[in-house]
């Protein structure tokens, strides 16, 4: 029920049979009169959210914490400050420098990676929040050293890159598109990379490469 999250006070009053059976009152009762319970009440206005998340996460930082990330099918554990973005951890701590940081403000798509198969800008994502999810970067596109992804092959054939700095982000946005749409239209391709900036101006060749990688006529770009 929607009201449960948006209006916790009302939900407690009007929905006696909440799924967890836990209400604001019962929580406080269960928490007893110890300092922990009181301080939770005092500092957290959304205290009833414990219905969805039974454990309050511990405060993290500023000192480094262990972070466990699953990247390209491999699990990494690193000790980093919790304020670090996923992009920074990938680049500075996992040596996966294929992912580029270009604007560092989520405006250019250069740091796009796939998080549980969804394209996200990794400069706007804390690394600690990416734990437990499957992360895929440009280094994980090829199958081993020899077998490139067909999209990578198409980028080479159609020269969908110049300086190459936007290329990893472009590739990840396009890979996500092809994963959800087998034969995208030109318009769908433009939309899929609409958050990816390229200063060399390689967009038309990117469109052509995606058309080709999905078995379509690359010259559609010119029509």
């Amino acid at each position: 029920m929607k009201g449960k999250k948006t209006d916790p006070a009302a939900s407690a009053a009007h929905n006696p049979d909440l799924s967890s059976g836990l209400t604001r009152r019962s929580f406080l009762k269960g928490a007893g009169v110890g300092t922990a319970g009181l301080s939770a009440l005092h500092f957290s206005p959304l205290v009833t959210q414990v219905e969805d998340r039974p454990e309050i996460p511990p405060l993290l930082g500023p000192s480094p914490v262990p972070v466990r990330l699953e990247v390209n099918g491999r699990t990494y554990t690193v000790n980093v400050e919790p304020r670090l973005t996923l992009a920074d951890v990938l680049r500075d701590h996992l040596d996966l420098t294929g992912t580029k940081v270009i604007c560092d403000r989520g405006a250019c798509g250069g740091c796009t990676v796939l998080l549980d198969n969804e394209p996200v800008v990794s400069c706007m994502q804390l690394a600690i929040a990416a734990q437990g999810k499957s992360i895929r970067t440009v280094e994980g596109l090829a199958q081993g050293a020899e077998q490139l992804d067909p999209l990578q092959e198409a980028f080479i054939t159609h020269d969908a890159l110049q300086c190459g700095f936007c290329t990893p982000g472009m590739l990840m946005s396009c890979r996500a598109l092809l994963d959800r749409t087998r034969q995208p239209t030109l318009d769908e391709i433009k939309t899929a990379v609409s958050g990816n900036l390229c200063r060399c101006g390689t967009y038309p060749h990117v469109f052509a490469a995606v058309l080709a990688a999905s078995g379509q006529e690359p010259n559609l770009v010119k029509e």
């Binding site: 304020r83 440009v138 990578q152 980028f155 020269d159 300086c163 190459g164 990816n196 200063r199 967009y203």
Partner: protein, 797 residues
Amino acid sequence: MARKVTLRVGYQNNLSSETRTIPDDEPLPWDATTELRVVGKPVPRVDARAKVTGQAKYTHDVKLPGMLYGVIVRSPYAAAGIQSIDIAAAEDLPGVRAVYVLDRRRVRFQGHEVAAIAADTPEQAEDAARAIEVAYAPGPFVVDFEMAMRADAPVVMEGGRAAAGGRVRVQGGIRLVAAAWADDGPKQNSNVFGPAKRSLFGSNRGDVPHAVQIADEVIEQEFRTPVQTHSCLETHAAVAYWEAGRLIVHCGAKSVTKARAELADYFGLSHTQVHVVNTFIGGHFGTKSSSLPYAALAARLAKQTGRPVKIALSRKDEHLVGGNRPQNRMQVRVAGMRDGTLAAVELTNYGSAGAGFGAGASGPFFSIYDCVHVRAADYDVLMNTGPSCAFRAPGHPQGAFALEVAIDMLCARLGYDPVEFRLRNSCERTPWRAEELRIGAERMGWHDRRDPMPAAQDGPIKRGIGVANSVWYSVYSPGAQVEVQVNKDGSVIALTSTSAPGAGSRTVIAQAIAEELGLEPHQIDVRLSDSDYPYSPAPGGSRLTSTVTPPARQAAYRVKQRLLSYAARKLEVGPDTLSLQPGGMVVSQSGKRLTWAETCGLLPGGKTVALGERAEDYSGPSVSFSRISMGQDLIAGVQFAEVTVDERIGQVRVDKIVAVQDCGRVFNPLLAESQLQGGIINALSFGLFEERVMDGLEGRMLNPDFLFYKIAGPREMPQLDTVFLNVYHGQTNTDARNLGEPAKVATIAAVVNAIYNATGAWVTQLPITPGRVLAALAERDRALEANVRASKARARA
């Protein structure tokens, strides 16, 4: 020793024979009739695989053991004295290893460097940078172009050019542009300098006032363009460390040899003590010409700490100090005769390169038209903003916008077709431009689809078609060298010091060598961007392909001659009877053969090496500077634009661009198409969206990011139809010219002329925002009403 050769030169069916004198050890130049196997073919770039797998290492990606992260502390003020700098608090923060304070008492623009710090992590370095306490005494400043020209404006640099020259060490680029000024001049107490005593691109000719006086029609119009920042996706960056008294720098500067000279000069070292390298560069577009001050600061901090230090500029800092295209206010006069002759063109340009020089825009005025009466004057106006530096066709997108729109205004006044007018007036020095205009007009449907009457369609949604000319120069650097090494196992390495920021320098070098040796381009391991390699210049001025492919081919030819002599001894035939076939097979006239591997196996040592060197063009340069020459011929190029304008909201959509471009021999049509499309897109971005916005009260840039500094994205892409015209000049052994800059010159003028064709309104200020379009439409309506009133008055009379 020299010999004479006859070469077929020209374009399409307009070929003729010309005799050239070439050195004895020069391979027979490829001309218009040479059949080539890999040159001129759409060869995928040889370094593409590294780029699509994320393996390509840019300076941003360099990480060395024990490396520290540096941050530069920059002035938030446009002008201020520095009273004191307290670094104690910063030094006490965790992870901080070194602080370096620049010897600077004044800052002249937001972003001017003040101090630098190094810490264990980038985050700690940023924290520490914020903790450095600088006591500024903010002073008067000016960041507004019009205000900067006023007599009572705060003076940006007392002493003018002398002050600018003194700043070479800390703000690279200024020295280069300041050199265009003939002398130091008196102490300057205003911000206006000029007119420039000479231009790289031409000089005044004829008698403009007289020509204007006797002309049938004269157009006078002012045009304005904004500051465009380079916005390279990889910001300026360097990683520096010291090893046994030597300085080693991974640096994103596009000329490692220039960076080496700068850093050696800065630290008082010999060139042998400085080693500068990089592998990939994330775009340059004219900037990244200097390693100063960022690489020097990284080296300072590295010296203090004894550890490698990396400095990579933030996006904000890149906007502030990473270079920009000057803003311009251009007063243009063009005069014409009723028979369609262009009688005179004149430009008075005031431009601002911020706290620097080089805001000229006169190139197109000297070079596009054959017109006999030309006068241009470029003035520099200093402001308290980050200095400009060369940006893809310096001055030309602005100048061509002003000139080519003024030409269409003249055509409208004369009732002359803009394509016909250009055929008549701009095809003498560049006769192939006529063919380009013909091809472009046909592909755009100029005669079938364009209504010569502006605003011919009913309703608020209007479509129009426009045209504009481009121009560029046959720029090259004599003295550039390429080394080719053939190893005993048959592998081939090419070495030269130029860099690879994205246009395809590795690929064209590989093509030239592969063609000569009968190999495939991917078999040539081209290694660039190392200051220990033979010298070749940075890409820039559109000179790379014409500069490095002739010595690459020459070196390969010399290696080939040596290999053939070993093969001849082995096969017991004369070397002259041998040829090197595709696949590297050596075949004698008598049918004896050796494979490439067998031939290379004959090398007595492990390898053989030859050096090629770029000489002057066979016919000599038209102009020569210290390291740059310009060949006799120009590069032409035309572009056509089709636009849709929504008159209700002033929105312009560019539907299609047709570009017809020459660049000598097209070395690689696949990469050339990328280059041409990229130039067009950058020009559209410049003309439609980009503008640095300064806050006049605070002296700061309001949009130093990619959210509010808008650059063209995928959704704004028009249909692009690019056509190349091979034009053979017979000037080098490869006959390649260049492409990067000519691609960007004509686009926005063609768009503006198309907007006129659609609406009857002239847009004279960039970027073409809806507000400016609505203002132009209102201006059109006022003019129409005035005309109606005037004709009614005449009728009554």
